[in-house]
Amino acid sequence: MTEATTSMRTTSLRLGAFAVPVACAIAIGVFGPLMGNYVSDFVVKVMILSIFALSLELLVGMTGLVSLGHAAFYGIGAYVTVLASGSEGGNLALLLPAAMGVAALYALFVGALSLRTRGVYFIMVTLAFAQMAFFVFHDTKVGGGSDGIYMYVRPAIGKLDMENRMVLFYVVLASLVFTYGLLALVRRSRFGAALAGIRVNEQRMRAAGFPVYGYKLAAFVLAGALAGLAGFLLASRDGVVNPELMAWHNSGEVLLMVILGGLGHLRGAVIGAVAFTLLKEIFSTHAVMGPLADHWQLTLGIAIIVFVALLPKGLIGLVKRLSPKEAA
């Protein structure tokens, strides 16, 4: 194959890589108003989780940093939104940056310390720091203790009132498109290339003169800010937060979404979030699972084990294995 055809092929692949997500976003946008309450609520939930998963994909898939404490930033974003909104409701234009900013600050603190370690240590340290955030909100009265707190009026700015179901829907959709687009740009940038280099061979990148620590910290803080965005949206949707948001089960679940979809692809994080949420919904529905629905953790746990055993490359890997054309 000549070089020209190779490059043509990659361009068409890249176009495909963009066309599908854009088509999906447009389809969701167009069909949004037609959805019933249950469906649109479910779609909003999945979109928020997709943003959360995408923010972790930046760390795990793009940089090779396995964080098991990502829920802390999600929870902090949500808590800041509720705590700062006051009894008359807050200004969306202030609350959103505040949620992302505080999450990013905590990510700066956690990242600065935990990135001094690597591998398994890093997994444990991120988990431990997330647990620390959990205990701060669980044990003190700051955020209503273990019961959490309610937000009485949702964030708004002018006509853009999150109390309105459709406004919420489109704000979440826009946030997802923003996150996906931003991370797609990051991937193609010099910064993204450096992160990929760090993932493949950190030693070599350091030898080549890259400030590896700084790059990793920047990725960590950006991932924290985006998780904070997801947290902001979640608080705006639910109108209530509790410490469970930061519990390590949540960190485990989002890590699972990223891997379920397929590491190293932005699509993977979104597909994983959709698949995982559907799976959980199905496992806990009495109509489908019968009495087992009460024990959805059991079925979910078994599904996870089977999934890891059989599909180490995620759903995207499965698709590739089934279509020999792309694998070749």
Partner: protein
Amino acid sequence: MDFGTFLVQCLNSVQYGLLLFLVASGLTLIFGIMGVINLAHGSFYMIGAYMAFALAPLFGDQFLLMLGAGVVLAAVFGYLLEWAFFSYLYQRDHLQQVLMTYGLILVFEELRSILVGNDVHGVKVPAWLDGSFALGNVMSYPWYRLFASAACIVLAAGLYWVVNRTRLGMMIRAGASNRDMVRGLGIDVKRLYRIVFAAGVALAALAGMIAAPMSSVYPNMGASVLIICFVLVVIGGIGSITGALLASLLVGFVDTFGKVFFADLAGIGIYLLMAIVLIWKPEGLMGRRP
């Protein structure tokens, strides 16, 4: 705080630290030797505690006999678990180990909820360990806690002896530093791993059984102890049993005195300790620089 209370809190710190060490040493064995990051280790502690809850009525005052029976059960359970799941995890990367053991936690937690429900249970202290030891008017201290500390010290010493002075320990240490070499020497590594894993599970379950009469038996106890163990490993340094012991005692003191002085914020004391150690020595107190 008067001197007596201070003394009691010191004893509590040591006792708690030693108990944590028992759990963490099992985790260190499994991680240090087999390289598997095992999130389900806390579940073994929980299983031990529930085992004490289930077995105590059967054994009555034969507490030591109960511990023995529990350890045997836990070791068999660990042996089977290694055979069924963990033996497949060695060649996988950390990410997949994290996920699969996370799946196992969900399964264990739900099985627990199906079998014994979600209530908090108490386990009675055996009659011969009931009551307190009094030191004049200065202080009095429950016999059971003294027993727990003594048991942990005996076990820790035994563990040290096995790892450093026996042939099995030699193989374990060799296996930790160079797996292929040990295999090359004709040692059945598969069996060695299975034994080490069973021992790690038994240690965690034993800690759970010993803790049960002191801390009651409740859902989620596995997760909380697991995360403290991670903190311990980070503070002590991976693979170092001495480091794990030192870290356990430190964490025991920080946690116990934290609860006395800062009731509300006690939960984060050990994480602050971890942050300080990370700033000062990222590889842990006794860890080797990677």
